[in-house]
């Protein structure tokens, strides 16, 4: 295979991985601290995409409107996260993890129908905003500029989260709570408040990634189910609750898919689940995860 083809597939994989990271980072954060695997995370992503579409369609500025819509969608999804955490999840922390899992599964059903009722089942489409409408030429081959935007955004969020978790006091609290929440509570830090804000942050990022995904592909029902399983693969491979792990996991899944499509298109999807299963068998807590529960 010629280097330019290799490079193109690599860049495609990078773009897909970047989007995956955006979505999975929220999931990983939530699991790391709250120990809740939020099945409905993909639904929040999907709702963010649909909200972005509607807002963008209302704000009649095609380019600036998209950025505004993205920000507002993310904020709205943060608020939705607030509602979900305080009304549903908070009451379930003292129950077992199966109940929590099932509650988030129920949320998938509810949010899917909400989207179906409000927007119908059609494929909606958002135009790519300036300046990312065309293609950039790398090695003489065109590469969609918007994909570069997604990659850049993914890196930006990664850096932001890294700063947040490793360089701020809030981050110290987060990491401590992930280790030992009773101790943190004993130190006088209100755990419920912390959990709520982490979940809200996760939901915000989910909404943001949904909005960003809108011009990338198509906005339609089924987005939630498709993305959540790939997110699971990402956090499993990288390590649940580990941010560098999620970054690595997203990268791996993106590349496996991209090159899989090139060589053995029938098995591209299967490869991802194979890797996921192998990691779970050999090292269940993932590459960067820690062997606690």
């Amino acid at each position: 295979m010629s280097p330019d083809v290799f490079f193109n597939q690599f860049m495609s994989g990078l773009a897909r991985g970047a989007l995956l990271f955006l979505v999975a980072s929220g999931l990983s954060l939530t699991f790391g601290v709250l120990r809740v695997l939020n099945f409905a995370h993909g639904s929040l992503y999907m709702l963010g995409a649909f909200l972005c579409y509607s807002l963008w369609a209302k704000i009649l500025l095609p380019s600036l409107g998209f950025y505004i819509a993205t920000l507002i969608s993310a904020i709205i999804m943060g608020a939705v996260g607030l509602i979900i955490e305080t009304s549903i999840l908070r009451a379930l922390y003292k129950r077992g993890w199966p109940e929590q899992l099932l509650a988030t599964y129920a949320l998938i059903l509810i949010i899917t129908d909400l989207v179906k009722w409000q927007w119908g089942g059609q494929f909606l489409s958002v135009s790519r905003p300036r300046p990312f409408t065309g293609a950039v030429f790398v090695f003489g081959l065109p590469f969609p500029a918007y994909n570069l935007f997604v990659i850049a955004l993914g890196l930006a969020i990664a850096i932001f989260l890294w700063w947040l978790v490793y360089r701020t006091r809030l981050g110290d609290i987060i990491r401590a709570a992930a280790h030992d929440r009773e101790m943190v509570a004993a130190l006088g830090i209100p755990i419920p408040w912390l959990f709520t804000w982490i979940f809200v942050l996760g939901a915000f990022i989910a909404g943001l990634s949904g909005a960003v995904a809108a011009p990338f592909g198509a906005v339609a029902l089924g987005m939630d189910i498709e993305i959540i399983v790939e997110c699971f693969a990402v956090v499993v491979i990288g390590g649940m609750g580990s941010l560098p792990g999620t970054l690595l996991g997203s990268f791996i899944v993106g590349q496996v898919y991209s090159f899989g499509i090139m060589y053995k298109p029938e098995l591209a999807l299967a490869f991802i689940f194979m890797v996921m299963a192998v990691v779970l068998i050999i090292r269940p807590w993932g590459i960067f995860g820690r062997p606690e529960r």
Binding site: A91, A106, L109, D113, I225, F273, A277
Partner: protein, 336 residues
């Protein structure tokens, strides 16, 4: 004292009576119900087998499997392919479906039982998805997205009424088998592992081996459900193996109550009939199901049946006067 004996016998007698009545009702149904409702009842019975097989792992062994649909689907595909492509005998095909599912359960289970808690759940999901993708993409062998059509049962079994009896018999047989298993020494070990894995290990029990055995049985029965379903609808499709399908027995069990033997059956019946009813006037079934589940999680912690049974035993205790000194079963979240 004498009273305690009466109550014990009374309990057994009333159980047998209830069973006889239920079986009697079941046998009479095809002559009473319209073809539409007979179809719904048949569905509910098959899916009850599926849910019961799931609860062997969840309620009795304490492990949440999110990949049961893969075994269900494999059972269905095995039957579909043998009947349409190899023109196999129907009964042998059913058996083959169960066996294929059991073997898959052995392979998948071998890896899964080494894990606990959420890791077990996610690995079952991963394997389930893997099998789904293989079936979905192996177009030449399985028909891919289109599935396999034209799966007919032989002779008189094409009549929905006759096929119903087959389903009903399979349901009775599976329930009986599972009942014997959970009330056998093997079943007690499973429950012990669920309640306190470390102590069980100290007793010298190889947890993984027991769990694997239970996993295979569960997979085999899930396969039976799928094997019965395919000829019923005359087709199979890859979506039978998707993780979303795996969620159905989970929901049904939680709805009905994971801490009772028949909870999954109650949950499945409620789900199936409400589903059919609701679909008559709206497409928005998922939101109703989702709200149902949330309500049950919050207000009926033991599921419908669990909650009802608890209320019933409390009422009986308060009204019989013999209940003093008896340790209550309320508060226990696990089936005994």
């Amino acid at each position: 004292m004498g009273n305690a004996f009466d109550r014990e016998e009374g309990k057994i007698l009333s159980r047998a009576a209830i069973l006889a009545i239920a079986v009697g009702i079941g046998l009479v149904m095809p002559h009473v119900l319209s073809p539409f409702y007979l179809m719904i009842l048949s569905e509910a019975l098959i899916m009850s087998i599926f849910a019961l097989s799931f609860n062997l792992l969840f309620g009795y062994m304490g492990q949440l499997s999110f990949g049961q649909a893969a075994f269900y689907g494999l059972g269905g595909y095995a039957v579909a392919m043998l009947i349409t492509k190899a023109h196999f005998n129907f009964w042998l095909s059913l058996l083959a479906g169960v066996l294929v599912a059991a073997i898959a359960g052995l392979v998948v289970g071998y890896f899964c039982v080494r894990l606990r808690g959420i890791y077990f759940a996610i690995l079952t999901l991963a394997f389930g998805q893997l099998l789904f993708v293989i079936i979905y993409k192996w177009h030449d062998f399985t028909g891919g997205d289109d599935g396999i059509q034209g799966v007919f049962p032989p002779g008189i079994l094409t009549s929905p009424k006759v096929y119903y009896y087959l389903i009903f018999l399979a349901f009775l047989g599976s329930s009986y088998l599972l009942w014997r298993i959970v009330n056998s020494p093997f079943g007690y070990v499973l429950k012990a592992m669920r309640d306190n894995p470390e102590r069980t290990e100290f007793l010298g029990i190889n947890i993984s081996r027991y769990q694997l055995f239970a996993f295979v049985i569960s997979a085999a029965l899930s396969g039976l459900a799928g094997a019965l379903w395919a000829p019923f609808y005359r087709s199979v499709a890859p979506f039978y193996l998707m993780w979303v399908k795996s969620g159905e027995p989970v929901m049904a069990t939680i709805l009905g109550g994971a801490n009772t033997f028949l909870g999954p059956v109650v949950g499945t019946f409620v789900m199936t009939f409400v589903h059919a009813y609701v679909l008559g006037f709206t497409y928005f079934w998922p939101v109703i199901m989702g709200c149902f589940i949330l309500l049950v999680i919050f207000f009926l912690p033991g599921g419908i049946l669990g909650f009802a049974l608890e209320k019933f035993t409390t009422w009986r205790r308060e009204n019989s006067g013999h209940g003093r000194g008896r340790s209550g079963s309320s508060g226990d979240k696990k089936p005994d």
